[in-house]
């Protein structure tokens, strides 16, 4: 009975498809756009392995005259500034992600509890910031002058700790996966509120926590705007993205700012394969994302769809 039903359904589905020429056209369009999306990255990888001579001769090209790993050798030679900002990026991403996930979960959990009277108030508190704000300049001045977010790691972490959008995603995750009876049962068994959240609720909403963690980790890894605003002199805390941005404007930023001996620094600055070097840095910044991408993609898709379906 069941078997014949599914057989019938399958036949029906096969009949009910678009015609072959139309499907070929769809493939063609989608392949074209997919290539448009990834080719720039492949191109930059090729440039990073192109010899400086070839760039001087024919410019950036998909088929360079000669290949070279010189750019990457210089990346390792130019040590400190670069590694420092690589380290900064990792530090900011790790600390920022842990803190922001904790804060988002702890803010979303009371909002999900129907028996929590002040729920409406806290809900409005975060929702209102989604539709109105103080604007760039007042926010900047308050952060810098009143909250002391200037020239330090805190300036790169604190302004992104909470996002009302993520609170909504987290709350929706809680609503769809944690039954109210479970909370009531835990309370009757004498479990304190914090105990309930971290020992009972958290294991259930692991996918939600993972989604928020990934979104936040990506936001911190890709962050350059906060550095542009709040870091003016202290180059020892700048993240990789901002270093890359500075190098766009002055090519020998790296050589000038590394703590090498005078003669050696000058020597390196002269022989710097500056063009392929920049592209090598772009590759180094994208590689962690590209490697993790196949794994985190489905989490992000799940999170975005759950969060957007019911805003």
């Amino acid at each position: 009975m069941i078997f014949s039903q599914t057989g019938h359904r399958r036949r029906n589905l096969r009949l009910n498809t678009i015609s072959a020429p139309v499907e070929t056209t769809f493939h063609f369009i989608l392949i074209l756009f997919s290539l448009f999306c990834v080719i720039p990255f492949l191109f930059v990888i090729i440039i990073s392995f192109t010899s400086e001579d070839s760039i001087r001769q024919i410019g950036y090209s998909f088929i360079p005259q000669s290949w070279s790993v010189q750019a990457y050798q210089y990346v390792f030679k130019l040590g400190d500034v670069l590694w420092r900002s690589y380290f900064n990026s990792f530090l900011i991403t790790t600390v920022g992600t842990v803190l922001s996930v904790l804060m988002t979960l702890m803010y979303a959990y009371p909002l999900f509890r129907r028996d929590f009277k002040q729920r409406q108030f806290f809900n409005f508190l975060s929702f209102f910031t989604m539709i109105f704000g103080g604007g760039l300049v007042p926010t900047y001045i308050i952060c810098k002058n009143v909250l002391g977010l200037s020239e330090n790691y805190a300036a790169l972490i604190v302004p992104m700790l909470l996002s009302p959008f993520n609170v909504i995603i987290m709350r929706t995750f809680l609503q769809t996966s944690v039954p109210t009876e479970l909370i009531e049962a835990a309370t009757i068994d004498g479990s304190g509120e914090y105990n309930t959240l971290f020992r009972i609720v958290m294991p259930i909403v692991k996918p939600g926590v993972a989604t928020i963690a990934l979104l936040n980790a990506l936001a911190y890894w890709n962050e350059w705007f906060l550095a542009l605003l709040y870091i003016r002199q202290n180059t020892s805390v700048i993240p990789l993205q901002y270093l890359l941005m500075k190098m766009q404007r002055n090519a020998d930023f790296l050589a000038k700012n590394s703590h090498l001996l005078g003669a050696e620094a000058a020597n390196i600055a002269v022989n710097l394969p500056s063009q392929s070097l920049k592209m090598a840095l772009v590759v180094l910044i994208v590689v962690p994302i590209a490697c993790a991408y196949p794994f985190f993609q489905r989490f992000v898709v799940a999170g975005l769809t759950i969060g957007s379906v019911k805003g």
Partner: protein, 322 residues
């Protein structure tokens, strides 16, 4: 594990106090987030008075003291703003870019999502989706290097090809006329994958029997798309549309600042409100003007989102945001 709450044994009086305790504990959980919101989102809202003041330093040089002692200017900052010839340009740019992004983004993403859902080869569909979503996870700094690889005036691929073909070489970063197309392309490149994924998820959620019933009734594939898929996507299209209309005065700073490499000769087509506020403050230090522009942006944006939402609520209460 923690010991069982002793108050449980003394029922009548403890019910009230345990309820209060529970509310207090839940409040304490929300406290870090609430404090963060108050300090980083609500406190700056008071900074809005900057738009009406002639902010300067006094003794002692603290922010609150300066604000209190600064002279009130009324709407003078706004007068200056509207007299400046750049203002109309940047508002027009912001609106035109955003309208283009919203319309193109909507049409292309819905089209892509429908195409992906109709492919019989699921592996290919999955692969296209993965490739299209990739740019969404990169920053505008990285994207600006990608573009530079093609357009750089000395080594970029396009100028070199033009040279080889004997054509006139275009200096892209000095020619504002090309940038509307480039910026629209860049925005689609980065964001289409995201909205495609959202629409595709909505399409996957549609009950398959609706299509089968339509097919039995003799509907062609195109009629099914028109009468089953699109009506089912309506709610999501409306929600994303309101969200975008509410942000119509906000531009993506990274796109307009980094992708044109902050090039001054491109301002006529790349200057938007967000970049103007940043440059007016950081480069010329005019707190009043930039606060005024920022406030204008927020108030109009607020009005837009409220208006969009109430229009939607009139026609389709289920799709409204609040």
């Amino acid at each position: 594990m923690r010991a069982i709450n002793p108050s449980l044994s003394r029922r009548p009086t403890s019910m009230v106090s345990s309820k209060r305790k529970k509310a207090l504990l839940l409040c304490s959980m929300a406290a870090p987030g609430a404090i963060w919101l108050l300090l980083l989102r609500y406190l700056p809202m008071f900074g809005i008075v900057l738009a009406f003041k002639d902010y300067r330093a006094f003794k002692p040089n603290t922010f609150w003291n300066n604000i209190v002692k600064s002279e009130w200017l009324g709407f003078k900052n706004f007068d200056f703003l509207f007299k400046s010839p750049d203002t109309g340009r940047m508002i027009a740019n912001t609106l035109l870019y955003n309208i283009t992004f919203i319309l193109l983004g909507l049409v292309i993403a819905v089209a892509f999502a429908i195409m992906l859902s109709e492919l019989t080869n699921r592996f290919a569909a999955k692969t296209y989706q993965t490739l299209m979503f990739f740019p969404y996870f990169l920053s505008w700094v990285v994207a600006s290097y990608f573009l530079l690889a093609f357009l750089d005036s000395t080594s970029g691929m396009v100028p070199n090809m033009q040279k080889l073909a004997g054509q006139e070489v275009i200096d892209w970063y000095q020619s504002p006329g090309y940038w509307p197309a480039i910026l629209v392309g860049a925005n689609l490149w980065k964001n289409i994958g995201y909205s495609t994924v959202l629409y595709l998820a909505a399409i996957t959620g549609i009950d398959r029997t609706q299509y089968e019933a339509a097919a039995v009734d003799g509907a062609t594939k195109w009629q099914q798309i028109r009468h089953v898929t699109l009506p089912n996507l309506r709610t999501m299209i409306i929600i994303l549309f309101i969200l975008n209309v509410g942000k119509i005065f906000n531009a993506d700073f990274g796109l307009f600042y980094n992708v044109p490499l902050n090039s001054g000769s491109l301002y006529s087509t790349t200057q938007v409100i967000d970049t103007y506020v940043y440059r007016a403050y950081m480069n010329s230090g005019s707190i009043g003007m930039s606060s005024a522009a920022g406030l204008l942006q927020n108030v109009v944006g607020f009005a837009c989102i409220i208006a969009a939402n109430s229009i939607v609520r009139r026609f389709d209460p289920d799709s409204s945001l609040f």
